[in-house]
């Protein structure tokens, strides 16, 4: 459940950044203008796709898997938790790369991106914690 809440907040941030990216929102709410510097840099795209859109898709996938994982028929199974670990692990790795770019290459900080990085780390931790909660196959009901 914690992963779903975190993913939903991350999703809203991604939606906000993506809407700004496509010019729907006007100015970006940002503490010192660093968000625009980061969002307008060449690193705001990955293979031609805006990173905000990738985040939106990623968080949507994590939210969907989290919601599947809490359904009664799936709650005792490990697959959703493992999928959640894989997805959020990927997110953590990519967020770490983006945070490195902000610090060492772009020299500007986007607060929304930092919040998103924290959220994806917390989601990953929540997913790992879920692994301990889910009984191992064959030991269910023991």
């Amino acid at each position: 459940m914690a992963a779903a809440v975190l993913a939903l907040i991350g999703l809203l941030i991604s939606v906000y950044l993506w809407l700004w990216k496509i010019g729907v929102l006007g100015e970006l709410v940002c503490f010192d203008g660093g968000c625009e510097t980061v969002q307008l840099s060449e690193y705001a795209y990955f293979l031609g796709i805006p990173v905000a859109l990738l985040g939106l898709i990623g968080y949507l996938a994590i939210l969907a898997v989290s919601l599947v994982g809490i359904q009664p028929r799936w709650v005792e199974r490990r697959e959703p938790t493992l999928a959640l670990i894989a997805l959020s692990g990927l997110g953590v790795a990519y967020s770490a790369y983006l945070t490195y770019l902000e610090a060492a290459v772009i020299h500007a900080w986007c607060q929304w991106c930092v919040i998103s990085a924290v959220l994806i780390c917390l989601t990953f931790i929540a997913a790992l914690a879920g692994l301990w909660e889910v009984p191992r196959e064959g030991s269910a009901g023991a």
């Binding site: 809440v5 809203l12 010019g23 006007g26």
Partner: protein, 226 residues
């Protein structure tokens, strides 16, 4: 049963977070739209008396080249990037030529006025040429934006402008009249496309390689000696 009820509460909480977030995004959008509308409704100064364009080079240079350019025009960017440095280093720096840039924003280029105005605001702080370079070098990026102001503002920051003064200048649309006057002046001398150049007494239409610029400067110098 208890599990189903707690799930239901969870879905409601999740839905409330989603609705709250979307409302917040919508409110930000409305607030930005209201601010933009206020800017657009502001007074537009039309007095551009005495503005002679942006000048680089010595007052005592024998030959003056006047360039009429549009910041969104690809050929203008091409000329500025490829030929501009040679002209600056070899003709202007040596005192042989004085360069004058005049705004000629074409009507089919929707992002051009914002770029010209940003350059004028940079010129107010003595950074016109640096801003011009940023705008031309990055033309492929901002020219595609629906709202180019955000990206162009980054270039203003990159060239070291006082951002408070820049924002005030952009908000007040301080140089709209000056740019319009420059455009009218271009029409009056026969400019209809960009880039166009007046070199001595000759109006030259279209981008030029460096060697052609030198040949035209030499022609102008010869005519002055006659």
């Amino acid at each position: 049963m208890t599990q189903q009820r707690s799930l239901r509460f969870f879905y409601i909480a999740l839905g409330l977070i989603a609705i709250g977030g979307l409302i917040a995004i919508w409110m930000v959008r409305q607030s930005n739209a209201a601010r933009t509308a206020a800017r657009e409704a502001g007074p537009v100064p039309v007095n551009a008396a005495g503005f002679e364009g942006w000048v680089m080079g010595s007052d005592s240079a024998a030959v003056e080249i006047v360039e009429y350019a549009d910041f969104e025009c690809g050929a203008c960017a091409h000329f500025s990037i490829l030929t501009g440095p040679d002209i600056r280093d070899r003709l202007v720096a040596s005192g042989r030529v004085r360069w004058r840039f005049r705004d000629f924003p074409l009507q089919g280029h929707p992002n051009s006025p914002a770029a010209h105005h940003a350059a004028a605001c940079a010129g107010e702080q003595g950074r016109f040429w640096e801003m011009q370079e940023q705008i031309f070098y990055n033309q492929a990026r901002w020219a595609r934006d629906r709202r180019p102001g955000r990206r162009i503002r980054d270039y203003a920051r990159a060239v070291g402008l006082d951002m408070g003064q820049y924002d005030d200048c952009m908000d007040e649309q301080r140089y709209v009249g000056q740019i319009q006057a420059s455009y009218q002046e271009g029409l009056a001398v026969g400019v209809s496309s960009t880039p166009s150049f007046v070199i001595g007494d000759l109006l030259v239409i279209g981008s030029l390689p460096y060697d052609s610029v030198v040949a035209l400067v030499e022609r102008a110098e010869r005519r002055l000696q006659q």
